[in-house]
């Protein structure tokens, strides 16, 4: 599913973010990526949907070797990887419905499918009654749920989230975790970078700890392991 071998990443400014990553993640797994600030978690996540390219090493996603993946094929990789951002990345002038539908329109889904899928996913994240609102009329947690809805509406095989609960109150965070668990039980692989000790220690999953660009720990049903 996701396989990295000896992956290095040095940014253009000379900073080495990843220092030889080896990891294998199977279809349907739920993985927390933890570690101190600046350890390389976001870099690790960006490699998966090819926002950054590794300096060295092999990355295989869904049987596709990213190092030989043609630029033209990148969009098709991304259709299999739903991404959730800490800053939501919603379009401010579009309604909740339109924001989610947008992700299907640009991959040329038929209008009938779009309506059905968007309504389904709004149901899942509990925002059916706010479909016509624009992002500014929503709370932070609601916006985050819209961005989750957009990431999963296409039913991707993998969903990755970089600190999806970063700015949210505990109540909202748990709501979001429930959504993740729900789509995970449907077979979607979830990879989530987080600083939340509470979540990691409560909803027990595989924990991958990155420190100084290396995997320092990789445990199933692991602990957060850092002071919050």
């Amino acid at each position: 599913m996701i396989n990295m071998t000896d992956v290095y990443k040095t940014y253009a400014n000379g900073v080495t973010a990843l220092n030889g990553i080896d990891i294998n993640i199977e279809q349907g797994e739920f993985v927390y990526v933890v570690g101190p600030s600046g350890a390389g978690k976001s870099t690790f996540i960006r490699l998966i949907y090819r926002e950054v390219k590794p300096t060295n090493g092999t990355i295989i996603i869904n049987d596709t070797d990213l190092s030989t993946l043609k630029e033209k094929k990148v969009p098709f990789l991304r259709r299999d990887v739903g991404v959730i951002f800490q800053d939501f990345k919603l379009l401010p002038k579009l309604s909740v419905y339109e924001n989610i539908a947008f992700a299907l329109e640009v991959i040329e889904e038929s209008p009938r499918n779009i309506r059905k899928r968007v309504m389904d996913v709004l149901e899942l994240v509990g925002l059916k009654n706010k479909a016509r609102f624009i992002p500014d009329e929503l709370s932070g947690g609601e916006q985050q749920r819209v961005s989750i809805a957009r990431a999963i509406v296409n039913q991707p095989k993998i969903v990755i989230a970089d600190e999806p609960t970063g700015n949210l109150d505990p109540e909202t965070s748990w709501g979001i975790m429930r959504v993740f668990e729900e789509i995970n039980t449907r077979g979607t692989t979830i990879i989530m970078a987080t600083h939340s000790k509470e979540i990691v220690n409560t909803v027990k999953k595989r924990v991958v700890a990155i420190e100084d660009g290396l995997i320092a720990r990789d445990e199933h049903r692991g602990e957060y392991g850092y002071e919050a």
């Binding site: 949907y49 926002e51 033209k72 969009p75 098709f76 990789l77 991304r78 259709r79 991404v83 990345k89 379009l91 947008f102 992700a103 329109e105 640009v106 991959i107 040329e108 038929s110 209008p111 957009r150 296409n154």
Partner: protein, 306 residues
Amino acid sequence: MTNIEVNTAMKLRTTKRHLREGLKNIFRNGWMTVAAVGAVTTTLLLVAAFLALMLNLNHMAGGLEEDVQIKALIDRTANEEQIQELGTTIEQIEGTESVAFSSSDEELNQLIEGMGEEGNTWQMFEQDNPLRHAYIVKATDPTDTEALASQINDLDNIQEVNYGQDVIHRLFQFNEYARTIGLVLIAGLVFTAIFLISNTIKLTIMARSREIGIMKLVGATNAFIRWPFFIEGMLHGVLGAIIPITVVLTGYYYLYNNLGDQITYSFVELLPFNPFAWQLSLIILLIGTFIGIWGSVMSVRKFLKV
């Protein structure tokens, strides 16, 4: 539905979307659109005027060339034998199409006829003809006339060669100047138009960089992202062609109907309105579209590194 039907439906829907988005951008960019379209309009107006002038001048020059003939006047001292010989020599020069002998009497008759009423006064010369025998020579290629004339001029027993050299020479020269000046002006304007179009589209791209970023992240293909910008540029070009085409069609219609009547000389015939004005309009539209597409390609290539 079959697979092909699904694909066609998809393509049709997507095409509609791109057209809609491109059109929206036109309105969103307001004054920048006006500037870009205005630049295309100015360019195309000039191209149209220039092309109409050039093509008509070429047409006239062509007509004129057809009529061009060399009149080689023969020395009065030449005897019959020498005149015969001269005829064969001219015939053998490369590029000669036809040679015809015209005696001094024939020449005088022609002159008298050509002058109409006034010609009568010349009739008194019939006894003592001041004119000379001549050879009327035509060149195979009219543009070789000048060279052929000078070759004939160098022959023995030739007194003088006439072929309306001044008119032809000036017409060709004018044509050439007009072409050079026109091309420089048009090239400058085309580049200005392309620059303005690509700048306008850059505005769209920058204003929508967030949207484009999200499109990329959810798996939109580059082609999908680019199309609306191509449409926007193409629309700049097509909109810019509207006024020039209107001007060409109405302007040439009046010009052809009024000027065409006044000028009676056969060689200054304007190209007929139909099909010329329509062809010119089509060319204008194509150039406009080309400028628009080029402008958008320039900006999209630089700013959509996707």
